[in-house]
């Protein structure tokens, strides 16, 4: 079911490419703005770069989460998913996986480019990428629960951000400190383990929670 849903959502994504590239465009526009607006010492900018990139990735992810279930709710494919998928949580996980490919995996691959714009030393790039690869699954999975809860609400976007930002904070903190510690020459293994642990926990719990939340949203729609 996971593979079936993944293929279906991947097709949808390929047919609406603007949505697919939106998070990446956001990331690059915002980093460019930071780079231009910050007129000061490039070394100072390098200190801030990990925090800026991570925060932007988090926000870009949040933006694309808002749309994760919306269209499916509107055209009724969501209720069919809940009725026909065996089991529904696997299909939900398939949907989240597609969302993560765009706003997690693609981000992790391209974030170093954004980070170079912000003058981040090349030696810190692997830590940034690894951190994003390990951390963004948690962002997408936890985010999916929030998106499932707010999908039926008008103006759910703000509520979604309010719900998710506190839950996303640990990922942000560990992700940024992993890069900073690497820049300082201290090992960052602990942070990577933490990111992986948070993602693993989210993977085991979030699909079920998101499915339950979707049932509530479909019921109210």
């Amino acid at each position: 079911m996971f593979a079936v849903q993944f293929r279906r959502d991947w097709l949808c994504l390929m047919r609406s490419r603007d949505e697919a590239v939106n998070p990446l465009v956001f990331l690059f526009l915002a980093t460019t703005l930071f780079a231009i607006a910050f007129g000061g010492d490039p070394r100072q900018l390098a200190e801030l770069a990990p925090a800026i990139v991570w925060a932007l990735v988090l926000l870009a992810n949040l933006l694309s989460l808002e749309a994760l279930f919306r269209r499916d709710l509107e055209d009724g494919t969501l209720e069919q998913l809940l009725l026909l998928a065996e089991p529904p949580f696997a299909a939900v996980l398939g949907k989240v996986a597609v969302q993560w490919c765009v706003s997690g995996a693609a981000m992790a691959v391209l974030a170093p480019v954004a980070a170079l714009l912000l003058n981040l030393p090349a030696a810190a790039l692997p830590a940034l990428m690894l951190g994003l690869l390990l951390g963004t699954p948690a962002l997408s999975l936890i985010g999916a629960v929030g998106a499932a809860l707010t999908v039926g609400l008008r103006g759910g976007g703000v509520l979604l951000a309010l719900l998710l930002l506190p839950l996303h904070l640990p990922v942000l903190v560990f992700g940024v400190s992993a890069v900073l510690d690497t820049m300082a020459g201290v090992g960052a293994a602990a942070q990577f383990y933490w990111l992986a642990a948070i993602s693993a926990a989210a993977l085991t719990l979030a699909p079920f929670a998101a499915t339950a939340a979707l049932r509530i949203s479909v019921e109210q729609s």
Binding site: V4, R8, R15, T77, E79, R215, E219
Partner: protein, 188 residues
């Protein structure tokens, strides 16, 4: 074998208004029951309860594996009919292509559904009923948006399904023309 659908002493209040109370219904294999009632009398809610999409009620519901066709067709505009239906193919039912041919969409299986008319999208939704071997069909206004030909198609699909031992619960304003019984929600 238990009947495909049994509802016992159903009571549902929505938005502070009691939709129905003490509602009992048993739908036997091979039977088609029409649900009647004015707008807002709870027909759609009753069907969603039977489908398992609405849980805010008291009473007992036992339903066999089922298909639900609601106001929304469950058809993604970005995908073609074939791509829309493929994920729901199961052994024991028609293939997606066969189902689309039966509902008169054989020529347009690869056209994105976004280019379809309302009636054609409805037909994609109808084709989904034929996928997988699910004995209970729950149809909410299945005739909506369909032309005369499409309405005949619905009757024919329902008749064939019932003859094959399936059961249909259908909320409709227009008589389906092939139903064994009728229940009016205004009486409950």
């Amino acid at each position: 074998m238990p009947p495909p659908l049994t509802m016992t002493d159903l009571d549902c209040t929505r938005g502070g208004r009691r939709l129905f109370g003490g509602f009992d219904l048993t739908l036997d294999a091979g039977g088609c029951t029409e649900v009647r009632g004015a707008n807002g009398s709870g027909k759609s809610t009753l069907l969603r309860i039977a489908a398992g999409l609405f849980a805010d009620f008291s009473g007992a519901v036992e339903a066999a594996p089922r298909h639900y066709l609601g106001h929304r067709n469950g058809v993604s505009a970005l995908l073609s009919p074939l791509e829309n239906l493929k994920p729901h193919e199961r052994p024991g039912g028609d293939s997606a292509r066969e189902a689309l041919i039966r509902t008169g969409l054989g020529d347009v299986v690869d056209v994105p559904c976004g280019q379809f008319s309302q009636g054609q999208q409805r037909r994609v939704g109808l084709a989904r009923l034929l996928l997988g071997d699910r004995p209970l069909w729950l149809l909410d206004e299945p005739l909506a948006a369909l032309d005369a030909d499409g309405q005949r198609l619905v009757r024919e699909l329902v008749e064939v399904h019932c003859r094959g031992g399936g059961a249909v619960l259908c909320a409709t304003h227009q008589p389906l023309g092939c139903s064994a019984s009728e229940v009016n929600l205004m009486d409950h």
